[in-house]
Symmetry: C2
């Protein structure tokens, strides 16, 4: 049953690409079949439903995000630099050519009201990021109120970059974060 895992992963990767690029309801199961080469019968043996695929995609995206910001933070040493590395990571993402906003926010807007599990997945993802930032803020010795401010900058940069189509928002957010961090530390 190792190839089952591999097939699931292939399906999740393809679904992630398609859902993210075009929206969830805009992608049909038949397109996922064409993209993966996995027959409908097989897809439905790997997952209960399209919704189950979506939830797996969101879980996968959560891991990508978590490992991405961890890797960026790993390249620097101080808590302050680790906090700022978030915005560098965002800049890399914004300029990778396929950026179309935060997948969780997109899924939340499209399906959050009708599929509670989607709203929950989005909330979990944002909670997790808030805690990550809060941990670094504490390590930096700054007041806890700084954390949501920095998280809000990251969120805002994502939507601004998505809609404007420009990666500048990452720089603006980074500059703002620097000012906020320094102001919070020298008090």
């Amino acid at each position: 049953m190792e190839e089952r895992r591999a097939a699931q992963k292939a399906a999740i990767d393809a679904a992630d690409r398609l859902f993210y690029a075009r929206g969830i309801q805009a992608v049909t199961m038949d397109e996922l079949r064409a993209e993966t080469g996995i027959s409908l019968k097989k897809l439905y043996s790997l997952f209960d439903s399209k919704q189950a695929i979506l939830l797996a995609v969101l879980a996968h995206r959560h891991e990508l995000w978590t490992s991405g910001i961890a890797r960026a933070a790993g390249a620097v040493s101080t808590p302050r630099d680790k906090l700022l590395s978030v915005y560098d990571f965002l800049h890399g993402w914004f300029t990778d050519g396929n950026y179309r906003g935060c997948g969780f926010i997109n899924a939340f807007g499209e399906l959050g009201a009708t599929v509670p599990a989607v709203a929950l997945a989005a909330r979990k993802q944002k909670d997790s990021f808030q805690r990550y930032v809060a941990g670094l803020v504490e390590q930096a010795g700054a007041p806890a109120s700084l954390a949501p401010q920095l998280a809000i900058l990251a969120e805002g940069a994502q939507t601004t970059a998505a809609i404007s189509g420009s990666a500048d928002a990452a720089h603006s957010a980074r500059d703002a974060a620097e000012i906020l961090i320094d102001a919070a530390l020298q008090r």
Copy 2:
């Protein structure tokens, strides 16, 4: 043809409520008919298509937003306070009981990739807000780089509040904005 206008407005208001609360594709034309009491035939005589209704809804939302922040700014006098009034306006919106994120971002995530006019409407809205903030920043005598930072805070507060379900983001964003404005002014 005055009642035609009135019927269009009623349809737009109802569609706005439904689309915003549940997502666009989750609302059927038949539900809009039930909500408005306007027959399908009539709806299709008032608008070319569901998509045309959506575009009218987005235009309507743009006006609501523009007049909302203008009203909030009208209650105070200095450019600095006008800038901060944006976040007070947001707080009021977040706590009105029906808040589910920025309608433009939701529409962008759901349909931006498949309906270019939706992506365009979202971009226009965000552009317009950026220019509004930039104007106030200039009046305040602060460097232009402050404007995108403040706009990003507003965007981030909207998505954070939507997903977390809490209005705290408005306060965090306001506090951050105050720090950024003051830092930008005393240089």
